[in-house]
Amino acid sequence: MRINCPLCGTRDRREFTYYGDAVYADRPADGAPIEAWDDYLHLRDNPAGETRDLWYHEMGCSSWIEVTRNTVTHEISATRLLTDRKAPAKKGKKT
């Protein structure tokens, strides 16, 4: 599996650490009810299709990356830096 790091280019999966679903990047606000925390920590959709995960380029530039990936075809259609989340997702470099 190869992931396109927006800074380093396409790299082998072994350079990255997988964290989980992209919802982790949106933590509930201070004072949010327990249910919001339970949802954030534990409840997930499990699609046969497009999903968005968070990967850490641990052996590379230390960027956290949001990866849009299809769990059926394995195709990675987009990656972007977590810090760029306000901007639209960049299409994964296809070679």
Binding site: I34, S63, W64
Partner: protein, 979 residues
Amino acid sequence: MRIAGKGLIDRANTVGFRFDGKDYTGFEGDTLASALLASDVKVFGRSFKYHRPRGVMSAGSEEPNALVTVGKGAAQVPNVRATVQEIHAGLEARGQNAWPSVNLDLMAVNDLFAPFFSAGFYYKTFMWPRAFWEKLYEPAIRRAAGLGALSGKHNDESYEKAWAHCDLLIIGSGPAGLMAALTAARAGAEVILAEEDHRMGGRCLSETFEIAGKPAADWAAGIVAELEAMPNVRLMTRTTVTGAYDDGTYGALERVGLHIANPPKDLPRECFWRIVAKRAVLASGAHERQIAFSNNDRPGIMTAGAVRAYLNRWGVAPGHAVTIFANNDNAHKTARDLSAAGVRIAGLIDVREDVEVVGDFPVYAGYRVIDTVGRKGLRDVVIADKSGQISRIVSDCLAVSGGWNPALHLTCHMNGRPVWREDIAAFVPKPGMVPGLEAAGSANGAFSTRACLAQGIAAAEAALEALGRKPKKAEMPEAEDGAVRMRAYWEVPEPKHRAWLDFANDVTTKDVRLAAQENFRSVEHMKRYTTQGMAPDQGKNSNVAALAILADATGRGISETGTTTFRPPYTPVSIAAMGAGGQGAGFAPQRFTTSDKAARERGAPMIEAGLWYRPSYFPRPGEKTWRESCDREVMMVRDRVGVCDVSTLGKIDIQGRDAARFLDLVYTNTFSTLKPGRVRYGLMLREDGLIMDDGTTACLAEGHYLMTTTTAAAGQVMRHLEFVQQAHCPGWDVRMISVTEQWAQFAVAGPLARELLNSVLETPIDVTTPPFLGVADVRLMDVDARLYRISFSGELGYEIAVPARYGESLYRDLVARAESLGGGAYGMEALNVLRIEKGFITHAEIHGRVTAFDIGMEGMVSAKKDCIGKGASKRPGLAGPEREQLVGLRPIPMSRQIGAGAHLFNEGADPVRVNDQGYVTSVGYSPVLKTYLGLAFLKNGRARHGERIRLVDHLRGTDVVCEVMNPVFFDPEGGRARA
């Protein structure tokens, strides 16, 4: 027998080798199979279940029968295909799955019990009595099972792994592959051409057809020479592409040193490659099929194409009187080639009545083979005509062809299924099953030479277009373009004896029909129930025929019956190759501190802390056990002064205008109030409210902090901090970097710590400078250093940090000075006892399921601010009297020994799970208090100080009553550290 004037072997170079204890000679270029066939060896091994004598069937890596063991001792390798192993001087090989030998195998008694060993027999026998399964059946079956055997010895031969990158990977170097490589290379693409064989050319090496007006082998050699000279082409022989993976990554196994006599120690035996290719062409050719008939597995029965290969490439005729049995015109070439070489053709049997054959040998059109004779080597072939009239042909080699199967396995590696083509009665790849991979040539169902060449060119041109390169005008060499003439024919009907499908797992047509009869009708079920397709050849020689039989037995078409899929690896890959570099200490990087050398010189045994090595204790002359050293070191620190390397703890430099705010977010307590020159202990939670780590953070200057983490959690904490910053506060002005390696850091602890340090520091320190939990820049021996006043031992303690280049030197100096003061170096064992005496926690206590409340630090979670984990820590069940809380334990009487891992029960309660009150996390013997001490988690522990609790270790057989107490056993006011 060897045929003069034929073959591509080097007759000038003879090679001596040994098989089953006998010496043979062959020529350079021979495989074990070709050299032994040349010497008229018939039996190569015994079959898996029935132990029937078996010989070579093919000339390639798909070989199911001739699996041998090569080498001796630790270097022994089982299940090597004799058709792939190149001979070299001194090669030693032997047959497998037979005792005492392949020629006399007592296990052949299994063959007599064949009627009981049909498909699924394990599930129908060995069921009763149940007790016998473990005691008798399983051990007996284990002994009888398997093919070759591993040596069981540690193998320290060299293997390697490597990466390669290219624009276009071409798999296979037959006509299609060579044309694809040439087309792409001439257009300037970076090409890798991988060939499984030790020589490039594919079928060009085994056939007598011509390409561009010359013998195919010469044409191939010319193309290879041109490719070799191009700097953008990489030729990889002896390299099998074993798997297609996501995103254009391919796994490949290169046999580097398996063909060399006395290889040098550093030469890898094999190399496992990961090839990253933008595009790929699968030009892997096709495998010839057998036909199922009675006793179709005898030594001497081969595929027709293999017989041609042995003749044309190796100059070997596998028999003196050869018969051919086929359903297609392609197989007739075997008769013609052999005949032209002077080998007698005993008969050509073709199931098609209307076939026309030209040749000076007997032709039996419309006949079929109904039996064979000759257990240890074919002697007679029994045939019958349409009316059932039987004749016998004397023959010692039967060349069978049921057609060809494209070698499309790689195209299925991403769960793809191929499509059936009725006209060639074969499966072909469905385009796009592996993104970026296109099949060409016979692998794609094209069987004329011209079609293969054309498809190779076309596939390369398609790849070039995708790569944005322009192909040069392709020159199509002249070649034959014959049509495929065949009639699908899977089995001779109503065999009187067993007819084999899967030779490697001994599965017959009867087994497949039985599976269908017992309602295992799906091809996936038939496969598992009969084990057809599950042998080392992964069904290469039996899949299509088996599913044709299943289709017939279940009244469906082949297309409707479908196929199972293929998974990597295409051929077996040794785990040593995949794990190259990972043996022993190579498994992970080893991390050594600057004091490592000095510690080992003192005889300290080292223990692993994460990837680091740290000294356990420092034995002195006269000390016989680790406890003696540990007790002495503890007292040394409590009474005099000790020196310990603490460099391994994570250190993270954090700077920026928002650094303080950031620390307040990641820690439970407040750090924005920490003044420069001060150090504070902090607790860090995971977002689910459980403790991730604890440590101290120092304020070096305004907006500049140094955080410490526990040794093994350093990477995890760094990852966490980066996540918090990038996900939750991307705009904040905070920058961080690890400085764990920059500083060598040593704890100096004990009542004489200050005295020791004042003997090296340029400016003396006193009780207030720096203060307890303070940090200061200092200078010692002409070097700028940092001094922290923190204590993990509970004694007056400091940590002195210098740039790592001075680490070894400073450590030696500090230890020498400590020794002159009656102290010395102390290791991890003593470190652990010192902190247990003080009730200080480590990751033994904060093991991932523990909250701040559990360790009595809920007061450290500030009510005034948010922090990571605060929200979730309020979930019901994470605080309260039902929680297991940190307590101290002391055995009653004090002389009893306790250990970590034990569980706690109320006195009088049965020590079983439902009565579990908690567990012990850390134990040490305290030479100060002269008793064992334990830290434990006990239900509602803080309310139970003074109670008695029963400590039971079911594993070690300990059962001791303990007193529950405050975990700070020694110096509870903490006055010693503040001295």
